[in-house]
Symmetry: C2
Subunit: 336 residues, 2 copies
């Protein structure tokens, strides 16, 4: 069931079969048919490893996701699904590597074993060892998020500073005069997670601009942490009536916490977030949020990567997204 077998049965040489298959050189219609018939009969499919070895490319892209320990947010999940789908559309396979900031075995295998033609790396840090590694392996890649040295790489990112800023403005417009930011986990932000850092910046700037009180909180990416951050906010700044967040995972906990404190959303406290559209809609009450277009980002990431694989030495392109805020039911005028 290899190419030699096909060649023998069709009475031609192996190279002719190869050319008939790839179309890289013309083959007469008659032989092409004869070969095709044999192929159909045995339903032969070329061996991927052999082809990869000879061609020097694998027709596979790597997708580096956060380690399994940290469960993916809905946004990330939608993104992964979109990447897989977009890749399938252009006949690329997707190899998964669950790798954190430091490159581990899985990541290393993927990169230096040349198992992929390029990679999409999620959850980029401001300083990211994986990016350095990819740069000096000269493997094409696209980051979801960007490092401090943004010009050296292709990336797609969401403008968290602006979005969180808009959340604050939205709350201020509604009359809220004391708001809190529920950021991502301390570890993540400490490790230089861009969205966390930029959300804090954007929050600070917007709060200052509007002259309202703003308190930034870090919060673990889980419901329990969400609940306890509400307790802290209530204890330290009971006057807070608006919450802006990019921490999806904590939100159910935040909700529980507010309930425990006898507070209703949005009557007593408004919540505005940055989240996956579907998820924001299904939240109760439906969440006023900047809907991150994760599917679109996934498709664009693949597009960008394919482009870069084809032309690795061009100037890296960047895409910075700033989706509008969708008004839903979780925000309302401040109580008085």
């Amino acid at each position: 069931m290899n190419i030699g077998e096909i060649a023998r049965r069709a009475g031609v040489s192996r190279s002719t079969v190869s050319y008939a298959l790839t179309g890289k050189r013309p083959v007469s219609e008659a032989t092409r048919r004869r070969i095709q018939d044999v192929i159909d009969e045995l339903d032969y499919k070329p061996n991927a490893a052999a082809r990869a070895l000879a061609e020097g490319r694998t027709r596979t892209i790597g997708l580096v996701i956060p380690p399994a320990a940290a469960r993916l947010t809905h946004m990330q999940l939608d993104f992964v699904a979109a990447v897989v789908e977009a890749a399938a559309k252009v006949d690329l396979d997707v190899l998964l590597s669950p790798s954190g900031g430091d490159h581990d075995r899985s990541f290393e295998r993927m990169i230096s074993g040349r198992r992929v033609d390029g990679a999409i790396v999620m959850e980029i840090r401001v300083q990211d060892a994986r990016v350095e590694r990819l740069l000096d392996e000269e493997l094409p890649f696209v980051g979801i998020g960007h490092t401090a040295r943004a010009d050296r790489m292709c990336w797609i990112d969401v403008d968290y500073a602006t979005l969180i800023g808009r959340c604050v403005h939205h709350l201020a417009d509604l009359g809220h005069s004391a708001v809190a930011l529920v950021n991502r986990s301390p570890e993540l932000v400490a490790s230089g997670y861009g969205p966390g850092l930029r959300a804090a910046e954007g929050f600070g700037a917007a709060v200052a601009e509007r002259g309202i009180a703003g308190y930034a909180y870090l919060c673990g990416d889980d419901a329990a942490s969400g609940r306890s951050v509400v307790e802290r906010i209530r204890a330290e700044h009971p006057e807070v009536t608006g919450i802006a967040t990019l921490n999806e995972a904590a939100l159910p906990g935040v909700q529980h916490g507010l309930e425990d404190a006898g507070l209703r959303v949005p009557r007593d406290v408004s919540i505005v977030g940055v989240a996956a559209a579907q998820w924001a809609q299904d939240f109760r009450p439906p969440l006023t949020a900047a809907d991150v277009p994760a599917q679109q980002m996934g498709a664009q990431a693949v597009e960008l990567l394919v482009e870069r694989i084809a032309a690795p030495d061009t100037i890296p392109r960047h895409i910075l997204l700033t989706p509008p805020i969708s008004l839903r039911s979780s925000s309302a005028p401040a109580p008085r």
Copy 2:
């Protein structure tokens, strides 16, 4: 940067380098060190495609997930994460293929291109073309769910019939005398999705056994469908006070629908489900549910697959899980 280069620099033959690397034949300590030094200096990593070609195995497993169009449930998500993690632990890479009941290009590439040593196939149907394909390619695989001819393959499944039965019994124990089943989508069940079929069976049996009224509803896998199924239930059988479900995705909608009807959970209506533990906990109110141990299933699936790759001709093993129901706050005695 290939094995020949290493060999030349270390002053040995290519085969010796190979043996030093794999340990498949003894190499003197002195040469081993010399080779290792060269390898470290150039940080050489063997090319995966070449190795795969020569060895006849790829050190990669395939994970066949439902197509991206249908978003994954939390259960499935946890499962995927667990598989990736478990695979990484034994130095296996994971190749993703989003493929529905009919095998498509991506699936076909994976299987017949021999890109993987084995596969884990999610969302198995009672009759599944992919299973047939895998069987006649003689590629080791593990199904999540089982076909009508269960003995021919390895699988892991959740005993939905029993679990939904237990949900009914739980509701009956609480005094509910009219209950409804919110099943998965009509298309899915029509296509022979085992859990949907067996949930209906289990529901029917338990309802009959307890002598209570039971109504089975199919329901799309999304919030909107959840809302409308509640409307239908209210219209057709207003006496229903208990809902059993395995449709995670519809549940937020069910919740909204009940709210719209002025009904509170669990005061007016109890809900019992089969769902991912984490998700059930974060639901509001926390969901009484049979917590499907998705992480454990993922790990077991990998384990089973590895076993099967090592010994393809043994009798297929099966694992049927029946996790206990965790009591949370969504179920309560029937109102009277």
